[in-house]
Symmetry: C2
Subunit: 329 residues, 2 copies
């Protein structure tokens, strides 16, 4: 376990030259004779030299690393966004550090703090607990960051989010066009702007049909939570169900089956997100699709513009959504 790495100093000694020359040789810089260069490279290989990239970056005053703060990377939604970020980051030579917060305020604070301490070049954050004040603090630091998936009032921010009002509208309208009139919305807590916007779309579609909102319940996120709520609502009369996300919808499918209600005959169900399992469940899920991979790519590119000073004014990107019609509605 003698975990001692070879340094350029070791190479310099062995080659009988200075560390400067070694550095220049290894980095293909001028001011090194062909013979010296060859010798240095050979010795480096012989000794098993592995360059210390952190030392290089430290010296250069950058980390070529960005931080990503998500609530839960094992959630298929974020997993795919992350992949988009990671792929485009790698393309530009950036590393990505992922921080999970489990929707906990302390964790969210600490995640950002750790990333700042690590001197990442920028941060992509999908806030769950942060309010405008916390975001404000970040702005004051004059530190490059992009907000993903959430919309704040402050208009100095870089944000990528999807058109949730339209998504809610499309989902609800689809149910209405299928003749459903008693449409229940199974929503997440409304303190999240996403939940508010999807609800807004829901209301808008109903209004277009001259209807009042029928019913909306807010629940905690997670499969069990949704399953229990549907079982609880067994006596409520509804023929359409618009769920905040696919996890809710998949839970609802299971609960409705247990309650003896047929989907889509008795209740038509629409989800949101189009996670990969949406098409595998039975019946396959009609849902609103967000291009998660694309969202990740856009987020990174926006951050990159900041890092390179290609852009200094704030930018918002509103991603389009579309309805994927399958069997459940």
């Amino acid at each position: 376990m003698a975990k001692r790495f070879i340094t350029i100093k070791d190479i310099a000694e062995e080659a009988g030259v200075s560390v400067n020359t070694v550095s220049r040789a290894l980095n293909n810089k001028p001011d090194v004779s062909p013979q010296t260069r060859k010798k240095v490279l050979e010795i480096a290989r012989k000794l098993g030299y592995i360059r210390n990239s952190d030392a290089v970056l430290f010296r250069k005053g950058t980390t070529k690393t960005i931080g990503v703060v998500f609530e839960d990377s094992s959630n298929p939604f974020y997993a795919e966004v992350f992949k988009g970020i990671e792929v485009s980051a790698r393309k530009y030579g950036y590393q990505v550090i992922l921080m999970n917060t489990e929707r906990d305020y302390i964790n969210e604070m600490q995640a950002v703090d750790t990333l700042l301490q690590k001197r990442v070049d920028g941060i992509i954050i999908s806030p769950t607990q942060f309010d405008s004040k916390d975001i404000e603090k970040l702005v004051k630091l004059n530190f490059p960051f992009v907000i993903l998936g959430v919309h704040f009032e402050n208009d100095e921010l870089d944000e990528v989010y999807s058109n949730d009002v339209k998504g809610g509208y499309l989902a609800t309208k689809h149910l209405l066009l299928k003749g459903r009139r008693k449409i229940l919305m199974l929503n997440a807590f409304m303190y999240k702007s996403v939940a508010r916007m999807r609800y807004e779309g829901y209301v808008e579609a109903l209004r277009e049909f001259g209807l009042q909102p029928y019913a909306m319940v807010e629940i905690e996120e997670g499969y069990e939570s949704a399953f229990n709520k549907i079982m609880e609502l067994r006596d409520i009369d509804f023929d359409g169900l618009f769920c905040f996300n696919d996890v809710f919808a998949i839970a609802a499918l299971k609960a409705l089956r247990l309650l003896g209600k047929k989907v889509p005959e008795d209740v038509a169900v629409v989800g949101y997100d189009d996670i990969s399992y949406a098409e595998f469940v039975q019946p396959s899920l009609t849902t609103v699709r967000i291009d998660k991979y694309q969202e990740g790519i856009v987020a990174f590119e926006m951050l990159y513009e900041r890092l390179m000073n290609l852009r200094t004014s704030p930018k918002r990107v509103l991603l389009d959504v579309n309805l994927i019609v399958r069997e459940s509605a």
Copy 2:
């Protein structure tokens, strides 16, 4: 965008003391008078000092970081293992860097290389393309690493893997006990030790019932691949299906439904892994459960023992598996 961070030097100047004193004050070390300490801390806060953790670790010659090399972190199986690693790593004050390889040899090499260049303290790797020779190279570096999910012959290695022979045995035996005799195994490519071991269990169970292996096909990983294969095999006669993993099984469920075969009446299906969606599909999936979260925890702890020199001899951990019986078989 004046991304200039405050350093202890700035604090030292403002406080009229040396950087040493500042360092000691900020780290609660002795040899600082209470007044000086107070003053330093105040100035640090006023100036918005954020310590450069990389510089600290650089100075200390450690990174307090480990690397994880997985084929695809958006795969729910690895996502959960990763969570186990991350949680226990954080408990010990370690950061985790995740590298995705997409089952590509070059990526796998580069991932390890990048991690070494970053001087991570250790690596957890779930190899897909590496053969014994590549592993050998790692061993020669005398670098702490743990292999996850795969078993190599070399017995100097630290490995965590699950009892795949038993898993294959349990799955097959269950099908046999349900009266199935024509059991097809939908396997991954046999160059993977995991695939070989699960097949071994399959053969063993059949032998116990005095039967020869019925049929086994090897396919590429992924949902489409499995779906297509089952559609292709429409004319093959089988009443039991043992799948290499749940993704295969879920794809098979869909294909069988399209082919008009009822599960479990016509074909009983058993998957492997018990990913979270296994219980949500219709019919819910009978499968072999690996405690993925636990596997991640164990992997980190084994690595930690190495890092702390608590253990110097190799160690293998074989995790138990068990059968989760649901509707599909």
